[in-house]
């Protein structure tokens, strides 16, 4: 259930921006969660529903963008086929994860009086 602590990090990060901008409410949050982030989007969402009560996010819609894992060759950048070994036969090089590990607060919309 580390989704709970991640949502707490989210809300405290949001709080920083709220104070910086003198906002009175948050309208919208956009979070990217990668396939290999180790975070369950549904659990993250339900933790958010629980923790946002009585905060400035009470009316803020949470949009979760799911990012599929993309592996590429660390040398030539060629895409590794899904389900294949994480290895580029042409370069004899291991793959690197290009996308899909993120747990990122991308952007938010604040209501500023």
């Amino acid at each position: 259930m580390h989704e709970w602590s991640l949502v707490q990090s989210l809300l405290s990060r949001v709080d920083e921006e709220v104070r910086k901008h003198g906002a009175v409410a948050v309208r919208r949050l956009e979070v990217s969660i990668g396939e290999l982030a180790g975070v369950d989007p549904a659990l993250f969402d339900s933790a958010y529903e629980l923790f946002r009560m009585d905060t400035l996010c009470a009316e803020a819609q949470l949009e979760i963008r799911y990012v599929p894992a993309t592996w590429v060759c660390a040398q030539c950048g060629a895409r590794i086929t899904q389900g294949a070994a994480l290895w580029c036969a042409a370069c004899e090089s291991p793959a690197r994860l290009d996308a899909g590990a993120e747990i990122v607060l991308e952007r938010m919309e604040l209501e500023v009086p």
């Binding site: 259930m1 580390h2 602590s5 991640l6 990090s9 989210l10 990060r13 921006e17 901008h21 906002a23 009175v24 409410a25 309208r27 979070v31 290999l36 982030a37 180790g38 975070v39 894992a69 592996w71 660390a74 389900g83 294949a84 070994a85 994480l86 290895w87 291991p94 793959a95 690197r96 994860l97 993120e102 747990i103 990122v104 607060l105 991308e106 952007r107 938010m108 919309e109 604040l110 209501e111 500023v112 009086p113």
Partner: protein, 233 residues
Amino acid sequence: MCEVCGCGDPEIVPVDVHENLLSGNDQRARHNREHLAGHGVLAVNLMGSPGAGKTAMLEATARASGGWRLGGITADLATERDAERLRAAGIPSYGITTGSVCHLDAAIVHEALHHFPWHGLDVLFIENVGNLVCPAIYDLGQAVNVVALSVTEGEDKPLKYPVMFRRADLVLLTKMDLLPHLPGVRVGAIEHALARVMPAPALLPVSATTGEGISGWMEWLAARREKVAPPRA
């Protein structure tokens, strides 16, 4: 206030953040890493399922370690049994009881470092909570991630828990002495699965009972330790 017509409607301000929600933990992990590596201590984050044989591996490590100065931080939801076992094996250890927390994070490890004389160690083992899910995403400040996977867990564990195995520097295939009793488990199939979730897969078959693979494990540790500190005279 809306500045266009002065109607009194609040203004909607978009803010681009693009910040990782684990950045606080990652920052604390960097702090731990600087301390540990700065003192020439190889910190090993040892992860794996409950019952994968993490503690037994460390007991076998203690038996094979010669003059190495080893230390341990162990974590369980309840009890300090693992720390007691390590101390009995000759590894000074500090036990963390995490309550309902299913993983260690950098702040918990930092706190533990304040309670534990780790400065003179060659290797500090951080035995994480037995769990193949949550521990994988938290950087603790370790130099290496090692995952213990027992042969009794079956062939497809890597495919089921890709997040954990992706971050491993080494996978210890434990309880090899039990393999003859497991007709449905083939080491080749585990290697095949691992290659699909771990770039540059490294699998070392070991047995804490028979001693199989322990010398290879010690060599791997020694090579990693040389990267954080020059070999001792």
